[in-house]
Symmetry: C2
Subunit: 414 residues, 2 copies
């Protein structure tokens, strides 16, 4: 089965919203064995929607549509679908009752525009929305399935997970597409490609390797498709094992994991605790760590010491060091690491101090200069200087990733 995703909304085309729905849908379909042929974002315009539906109908078996189902006047998807499938809107009383209940439960007043959310095409199968008022709609035309869903991500996800995917699995015989994702950090794409040249040359027919770099991780994806799941699994197992031998500790995880999860797993294994003292990263390391459910088992807390007075009074950094070396220095970042380790009574501690930018750099310490220290239980502090780029957001993200990876490497060693 092949699919296309169509996301509707002028806001996508003029860039006021990043389309995160397509990536999520694409992943779910791939995991279900449905090959995504294309993703298209189009405008809230009847003619354009009708044309996109007709084109997709010719190309694929399944068209998933998001957006344009809100209660406001700029949302025209529902009426356009009626035109395409030659049907009319009728009031679904059971849906109306659910919408009313939805508003009652939240204590919101139900308005006329909300009631209109229960007016739906007569000839479609309704896919319920358990977390919102815009229902999913399943149509069939010339052997192509069309499903229209709201654009609000968590509503679309529930409609997919609870309704669309189970229905597809039940009613269609789907082939197998398998992926393995191996996560690395601290090695750039061209170096990795060089290291894996031989491995890639020897890949069996039908197995693909892709490189997916970002600021948080470099993902390697092995893919294969076919009919016999167990056979395909075996081929991928072999290739994955080979890859592991090439990469060793450069691998920090698999699938959709993250450096903060890898660090969390190691800390839990060792029954050890962590705290952070952050200047340039401004709390982002703590935020990443605490984004992992269960992190309270090993993470005690953080001091974001943005002002020098906090470095002195809360983290016990010596005033003399701040004057002599400046806040962005080996001496200060090491005192920050030891200070937070002592204050929060943790085994490990991360500290960062740098110039996130875009202003504040000097010749000696340009924007991007960042000191990262890790204090370990034996009293040692491992410190290194980095010079990242000129963009604030990127520098914060890079410093966060490098700090987590340095801690990971230290945890593996000790």
């Amino acid at each position: 089965m092949t699919a296309e995703i169509i996301t509707i909304g002028d806001e996508l085309l003029i860039g006021q919203i990043v389309d995160t729905n397509s990536a999520w849908i694409g992943e779910q379909l791939s995991l279900t064995g449905i090959k995504v042929h294309q993703i298209s974002s189009i405008s809230d315009n009847e003619e354009h929607i009708l044309k996109a539906l007709a084109e997709a109908e010719k190309r694929v078996d399944l068209v998933l549509i998001t957006g344009g189902l809100g209660p406001t006047k700029d949302d025209i998807t529902k009426k356009t679908l009626c035109k395409y499938f030659d049907t009319d809107l009728v009031m679904y009383e059971d849906i109306l009752a659910k919408i009313k209940e939805f508003f009652d439960r939240r204590g919101f007043k139900m308005l006329d525009v909300n009631k209109q959310q229960a007016a739906l095409p007569e000839n479609c199968t309704i896919i319920p929305n358990p977390v919102g008022t815009a229902s999913g709609m399943w149509f069939e035309k010339n052997k192509t399935i069309f499903v229209s869903m709201p654009g609000i991500p968590h509503e679309m996800k529930r409609i997919m997970t609870d309704g669309v995917l189970p229905k597809l699995k039940k009613e269609y015989d789907l082939p197998v597409i398998l992926h393995r994702t191996i996560l690395t950090y601290g090695i750039i794409e061209s170096e990795l490609s060089d290291l894996l040249e031989d491995f890639e040359k020897k890949l069996p027919e039908g197995v693909k390797l892709a490189y997916l770099p970002s600021l948080e991780r470099l993902r390697l994806r092995l893919s294969i498709s076919g009919k016999h799941k167990l056979e395909l699994e075996k081929i991928l197992d072999e290739q994955e094992n080979k890859l592991k031998k090439y990469l060793g500790n450069k691998i920090f995880g698999y699938g959709d994991s993250s450096l903060q999860e890898a660090v969390g797993i190691l800390l839990k294994e060792k029954k050890q605790t962590l705290s952070t003292a952050e200047s340039c990263t401004g709390g982002n390391i703590a935020h990443k760590i605490t984004s992992v459910s269960g992190s309270s088992q090993y993470f005690k807390g953080s001091v974001v010491a943005y002002d020098n007075s906090i470095k002195q009074n809360v983290l016990q950094v010596q005033e003399l060091s701040l004057i002599k070396y400046g806040a962005v220095s080996k001496e200060v970042v090491e005192q920050m690491a030891l200070g937070i380790q002592k204050l929060m009574q943790t085994d490990y501690a991360i500290a960062t101090s740098g110039i996130a930018g875009p202003t504040g750099g000097t010749n000696e310490k340009p924007v991007g200069t960042t000191w990262i220290a890790i204090a370990s239980p034996d009293g040692e502090v491992y410190t290194r200087k980095y010079v990242f780029g000129t963009q604030r957001e990127q520098n914060i993200r890079r410093a966060t990733s490098v700090a987590l990876n340095n801690l990971r490497k230290l945890l593996l060693k000790e």
Copy 2:
């Protein structure tokens, strides 16, 4: 001028990467007066790329292509472009010298695959990449312009900003498309739509209003297109002023601003300072605040008190309160706010304590229960309880936005 954006990469279709490039390009084109007709994501497949280029050529004047220009073997865009434009790759010695310099400066070893980045189509105009090794390529065919760029966001952005957009503005007579974005928080879409029913009915011909909700803000966008910029500006000015009267303090900013920027502006005006004590938000409020350049003027720091011992020992929360009311309670969150305000000597302080989930809830305090307190300079603490949803990431983001908006409202009042 009309445009399409084509992003190339299997990783987009199987959802391993969210396409953020298209949104950015879409915004830049809109601001330049170029109407984006469609965005398409397609696979790393020669046939598919050729077909997508041919289709887009028929529909629009400008096709912007990203992705598939990396040094690894899964990147086939360059060769496919040669086929489409009937040309060959030749070695550009000046580009090779620049790539060599790029590697020398970073102290990386230049590999053979990197050298190949200087082999580029003979009949295109090279648009330099000042921050990477994959050059931009500008082609023209049957009056349609095609520009191919790497998929790495910061490289693509520099090629667009330094090369593509200036060239378009210089060489073509572009019409005017104007947008105004008004940012609100704390009012849901249907309520807002109800409030603005009369306003929307009276909108002049050609002016569109769109609602763009997210967890961080609800954006309202007024749009108009035409030829005479001053005339269009005047019409939008009038409508924007009308909208301001309807919404008052519900508006926190304009354009691409954020709650953390709005709070920063108010604190700077008042020459007042802020600190945060975060439990369930885990440092995300500090992270958001410090993502704003210049925030060190008003933000002193934060204590992420994930463990109860930190609440007691660093923030001076009473042990008895923790035992009697629990960490997620009015009493504890207020002591946290007062504790951090005193510790960091700031005028205002934000504190959060809640159950982010997905586990840890009880009947009395379900997942999503969150207390948010704001301590003000006069010693008052404003505290409120919220019950958000069951998803960890969303709860953290919601609590962060609500806390920043509560502080904003208090700053406007005082």
